[in-house]
Amino acid sequence: MTAAVHPDRNFKYWLLAPAIFLLLLIGLFPLIYSLVVSFMRIDMMDTDTSFAWFYNYKQLFKDGRLWWSLAHTLLITAIALPVELLLGLAMAYLFLEKMPWRQIFISLLVLPTIISPIVAGATWRLLFDNKYGPINQIISWVAGERIDALWTIKPNLVYPAIIFCEIWQWTPFMFLILLAALSNVDKSQTEAAEIDGARFLRIFRYIALPAIWPVMAIAILIRGLDLFRIFDIIWALTQGGPGTRTETISIYAYTQGFKQFETSYTAAIAFLVVFILTVICTWAIRRMGLAK
């Protein structure tokens, strides 16, 4: 039963046409447009549109603020991703065996993930408020004296604030995916290993991990990509401040494009981001053995 037998031969192309058209319009057009513009000298302050060739790309290398923003992005990713993964895994193990009310617990734990990231940021901004927020109050109880930490303002506290919020929102996502993956692991194998007296870590390493790895790798990849383009939570909590202390690559690109109106330069940054992501993804997909 092939399409060629049937009269409606173009059927398969008609099915694809709307999707491809939209993807070209929203996906490919901006990319080509950015590429062209990044070789020009456009900003919204004057009318010069001459070609500058690699001028903007050379500027990228001299732009300290850009590289700091990349470093900030990587810092957040490097801390949040492993914590989310390990915590999610531990939680998945906690709920793996049957227990009464299990489904209710799981539903409640998933709440943070289905909240909009901008609302998550706003919520934590309320929680972190130095005077009327509950977090300083709880710390004060524990410390026994009044603590007045300026979480979203003090340079040495902003990162913990952002990372707390990030971990709070996305650990449940890891938890759900890993729970689903662990539930599919062949029980007879782990039980046999347990009877043989194998320790938990060995069972995990040699039976569970290989079984859940394809799923876990994708979860890591998805979260890694999301963390690399983190924007909403930071926008709500600090807007990249104090100064440029928590400026991530997405926040910086936004600032260049919509506050400084550096059209061509923003396009060059966008291209740099796409380039970095492509390299990381290709490497990660190979390294994790996801490529078929």
Partner: protein
């Protein structure tokens, strides 16, 4: 059984699991509780030191203000944008996925190109899109954002639906074709019903993506189609924040999603695990 060490006994283990589970629920749900509770507080309760852990009475004045000023309409905007774009993304994405699976259209390369579109960071495309939209006059229009959300969801929908459609036995479709169904009828009457739970799960996630969007809406809307996520940030001030409004607006924007997820829950668990396993 008393030979077992204390922490290995079944009863102790279960109680310990309950204790940790309860602690986790408290930690993860407290921020949500706090958000909801602030939206019901009076200004005095919000700006009380030490903080008030639960309001003396539930009052809806904070919500009434949002409805009176028309700010609540932004939730309606989000609802319109997210549902219509989900609808179109599901239709275009599902039929495209069907074509990829059944006819191997474009081979593996086309499928990989489509999923690679998903890796594109929004901030890289939002600027050229902004210039394009200014040029053709789509800024601050429902149409512009619906097209954008639809296109942005497509790779996800196609990728997920590809997995579900692959699971449908080919024989069912063949017998439908032999019985005289056209290709469209086969797709409509055989494939879609079979992929129903996958369709629902994918639709919910697509809806949530569009619902949660902030960056596109921030850049591409002005006053006409402000979404609720953008509206929430309007209440942030340099010196002081409008706490009651932030909380009430956030709750208004959160309830539709909680509701959707609660209604669709049985599809979601399967959807997440299947999708993840399929990759």
């Amino acid at each position: 059984m008393s030979a077992l060490p204390f922490h290995r006994r079944a009863g102790v283990r279960l109680s310990l699991r309950y204790l940790i589970a309860a602690l986790l629920v408290i930690i993860f749900c407290f921020p949500v509780y706090w958000l909801f509770i602030i939206s019901f507080k009076t200004p005095d309760e919000i700006f009380a030191y030490p903080p008030v852990w639960y309001p003396a009475s539930i009052q809806f004045a904070n919500y009434a203000v949002l409805f009176k000023d028309g700010d609540a309409a932004t939730v309606g905007n989000s609802l319109v944008l997210a549902s219509i774009s989900t609808f179109f993304a599901m239709i275009f994405g599902t039929v495209a996925a069907y074509s990829l699976v059944r006819f191997k259209t474009g081979g593996e390369n086309l499928a990989v190109w489509i999923i690679s579109q998903r890796m594109m960071p929004p901030v890289a495309i939002v600027f050229p899109i902004f210039l394009l939209y200014i040029w053709i006059g789509w800024v601050d229009s429902y149409f512009g954002l619906i097209i954008l959300y639809t296109a942005f969801s497509l790779p996800y929908v196609i990728w997920m639906m590809r997995g579900y459609i692959e699971d449908i036995p080919l024989e069912l479709e063949e017998s439908a074709l032999v019985d005289g169904c056209s290709r469209w009828e086969t797709l409509w009457k055989v494939v879609l019903p079979m992929a129903r739970s996958g369709l629902f799960a994918t639709a919910v996630f697509t809806f949530i993506f569009a619902w949660n969007d902030f960056l596109f809406a921030l850049v591409l809307t002005r006053t006409e189609v402000t979404t609720y996520t953008v509206q929430v940030t309007h209440y942030f001030g340099g010196q002081s924040n409008f706490w009651a409004k932030i909380a009430a607006m956030s709750v208004l924007g959160t309830i539709p999603v909680f509701f959707t997820v609660a209604v669709m829950q049985r599809f979601l668990v399967r959807g997440i695990s299947m999708g993840a396993v399929k990759g």
